[in-house]
């Protein structure tokens, strides 16, 4: 009976540790992510912050476009960078699939749609403010940069193309594009050098397959509801820029500005911290689906999984003990028994892991890298425990009447 108690204790400790680990990570994860400007304390005296504007669009259009523009003017400075990743729809696009939005993620097909005999393709595009181009040392292979410091809406929009567009379009070519449901005319004025990139959230965004357009400013007030909707959406984006600060007083100025703006606007602008990516971040960055909603469900599932799996497995293992012993007794090689057991165990675990992940993705819940870390940790621990438990000598002692517990040496 002693072993049962010992094993139970072991399981409880294991479960507790997993739980603490999970809680720790939740706390750790949520720290410094979405913080109101008043509470935002930068750990370094220089760095980047991103503005995040949470608002219901319905509260904005029809009456607020001037306030939005005023807020934008108040924010804009040499340290305020606009880097937006908003694709445009181009009718009868002649380029290859690699230029389509979602190509790298494998769903380029989703960005093509047909409307009254016209095929529109969603083409990857970034919108940059003028200072962003020089901030990231982007250089030209051919052609020239945008002429004005800030491009004004109304005329032909000059665009730059990534290096892989070479041979697809040429300087001087004109295109039509649907940019957040507003029809614009593009004119190619330059092609970027190979491997030109900007940094977004600590990761490089290579522009080789992108169209680069200026983040346009709309000078006139909208005359139609459609135009109003466009401007509202566009300016909400423009308010979600990036701010580079070199000392804490600059950050303080920004915070004050944001607080003042929050007084005048519906919704709320908050700051997102942008820490340098860690190793784990880079490894998992491709798997992480960032979402604001707290991923409590996924965390709960992960905890359940990491606690239930050992419990269920050891329960089964105890039940299995007589089967395993009988197999040893009847001359089945211990190694075969072990291999079979581990394979079975791994497949059970893989199945449960996969199904949990599948459920998470299906219901659109984000899972952070920590879920995977916890899971992997649980799996490795279990395999190790399995090895400890399933020693041949343990089975043989069991048959001989020596209870497993009598041989605490074995554990």
């Amino acid at each position: 009976m002693k072993t049962m108690v010992d094993r139970k204790k072991l399981l409880i400790i294991f479960a507790l540790l997993t739980f603490l680990f999970a809680v720790f990570n939740v706390v750790f994860e949520s720290r410094g992510k979405y913080i109101s400007p008043d509470d935002y304390h930068a750990s370094n005296s220089s760095g980047w912050v991103r503005l995040n504007y949470q608002v219901n669009l319905a509260d904005l259009h029809g009456k607020k476009i001037d306030t939005l523009k005023a807020a934008y003017t108040a924010l804009s400075s040499e340290n305020y960078f606009e880097i937006h990743n908003q694709f445009v729809y181009i009718p009868f696009f002649e380029g290859k699939e690699i230029f389509l939005y979602g190509y790298e993620e494998g769903h380029a097909d989703d960005s093509i749609y047909q409307h009254e005999d016209i095929v529109f393709s969603g083409v990857k595009t970034v919108q940059l403010s003028h200072n962003a181009l020089s901030r990231f040392n982007i250089s030209l292979w051919r052609g020239e940069f945008f002429p004005d410091a800030n491009y004004q809406d109304g005329d032909m929009v000059p665009i730059l193309l990534g290096y892989e567009y070479k041979g697809v379009f040429d300087i001087g070519d004109e295109l039509e594009a649907d940019f957040i449901e507003k029809l614009l005319k593009f004119k190619v004025i330059g092609i970027l050098n190979k491997d030109s990139h900007i940094m977004m959230q600590g990761y490089p965004l290579y522009l080789d397959r992108y169209i680069v357009m200026p983040s346009i400013n709309c000078l006139y007030s909208p005359a139609t509801p459609e135009e109003d909707l466009f401007q509202v959406r566009h300016y909400v984006n423009k308010l979600e820029g990036w701010y580079e600060y070199n000392n804490s007083s600059q950050l303080k100025v920004l915070k004050n500005k944001i607080s003042a703006i929050n007084e005048t606007l519906p919704g709320r602008i908050t700051l997102l911290s942008l820490e340098r990516p860690t190793m784990i971040d880079s490894i998992f960055s491709s798997m992480i689906i960032l979402e604001q909603a707290a991923s409590w469900v996924s965390i709960l599932l992960a905890i359940l999984l990491s606690v239930l799996c050992p419990l269920i497995y050891f329960r089964l293992q105890l039940k299995n003990l007589s089967l395993l012993c009988t197999n040893v007794l009847l001359g089945i090689n211990y190694k075969n028994i072990l291999i079979k057991n581990i394979l079975l165990f791994l497949s059970i675990l893989a199945l449960s892991n996969l199904s949990v992940l599948a459920i998470l993705i299906m219901i659109g819940i984000t899972f952070t890298k920590w879920i995977l870390v916890i899971d992997t940790l649980a799996v490795t621990t279990l395999i190790l425990l399995n090895f400890l438990f399933l020693k041949e000598s343990n089975l043989i002692s069991y048959m001989g009447g020596l209870h497993l517990a009598a041989n605490t040496k074995h554990f």
Binding site: K319, S322, L323, C325, T326, N327, V328, L329, L330, G331, I332, N333, Y334, K335, E392, I396, Y398, M399, G400, G401, L402
Partner: protein, 217 residues
């Protein structure tokens, strides 16, 4: 002839269980092994069955031999082909019923003929007086009933060597007689570890384990 030649086994330096112990068992003979609790009877059976490796010495049966150098595959092959065991803790599979437990070794040996298996199990169960238990889960049986199920499981493949570790400890005298006649008439070598004087007296030879040595009585 089963020869056990100067077998030594210790679990740690202080605990020498068998010390150059030897015995010879003729084919088809029925022998008893006795000794105080903890003297190494189970250890001896485990070594003969190839469950444990001796530190020194050799087990010779026909042209097979097990030594400290035999690997686990050789040992399990020897067990698979030559040995039937009734272990002290019986090790029945609780999730299976009695029939499945008894038939299990036949299935492991790859016997597919269901009628053959059913007939064989029923025949043995009738002899051991457990025919009416065949559909019961073994977790519901008494210890004496379990001992007979373990015996049936051990003899169903008719191994030439049968090792029994205290097989009658929980039986009444009537059932013990049934079981003993099964051992005495078994067409192979039988080694029984027992404290039971009835069992000992029905064996042809008795070996005593004392201070790591085996002596013939």
């Amino acid at each position: 002839m089963l020869q056990i030649q100067s077998i030594s086994k210790s679990f740690d330096k202080k605990n020498i269980v068998l010390d150059q112990a030897g015995m010879v068992v003729q084919d088809y003979s029925k022998v008893a092994v006795i000794g105080k609790s903890g003297c190494g009877k189970t250890t001896l059976l485990n070594i003969i069955a190839g469950l444990l490796s001796p530190d020194d010495g050799e087990i010779i049966y026909k042209d097979f031999s097990l030594t400290s150098k035999s690997n686990s595959k050789e040992r399990s092959d020897f067990r698979f082909n030559h040995v039937g065991i009734i272990p002290q803790r019986l090790c029945l599979i609780n999730e299976y019923n009695v029939f499945q437990n008894i038939a299990y070794p036949l299935r492991l040996k790859g016997v597919k003929d269901n009628k053959f298996i059913i007939d064989k199990v029923k025949d043995i169960a009738n002899r051991l007086n457990i025919a009416e238990l065949l559909n019961k889960k073994t977790s519901l049986l008494s210890t004496g009933q379990c001992q007979r199920v373990a015996l049936a499981r051990a003899i169903i493949t008719s191994p030439p060597i049968l090792l029994a570790d205290e097989p009658t400890s929980a039986l009444d005298s009537e059932t013990r007689a049934i079981v003993m006649s099964e051992f005495i008439n078994y067409p192979g070598t039988v080694i029984i570890v027992s404290h039971d004087s009835h069992v000992i007296s029905s064996c042809q030879e008795v070996f005593l384990i004392e201070d790591g040595r085996i002596t013939k009585m």
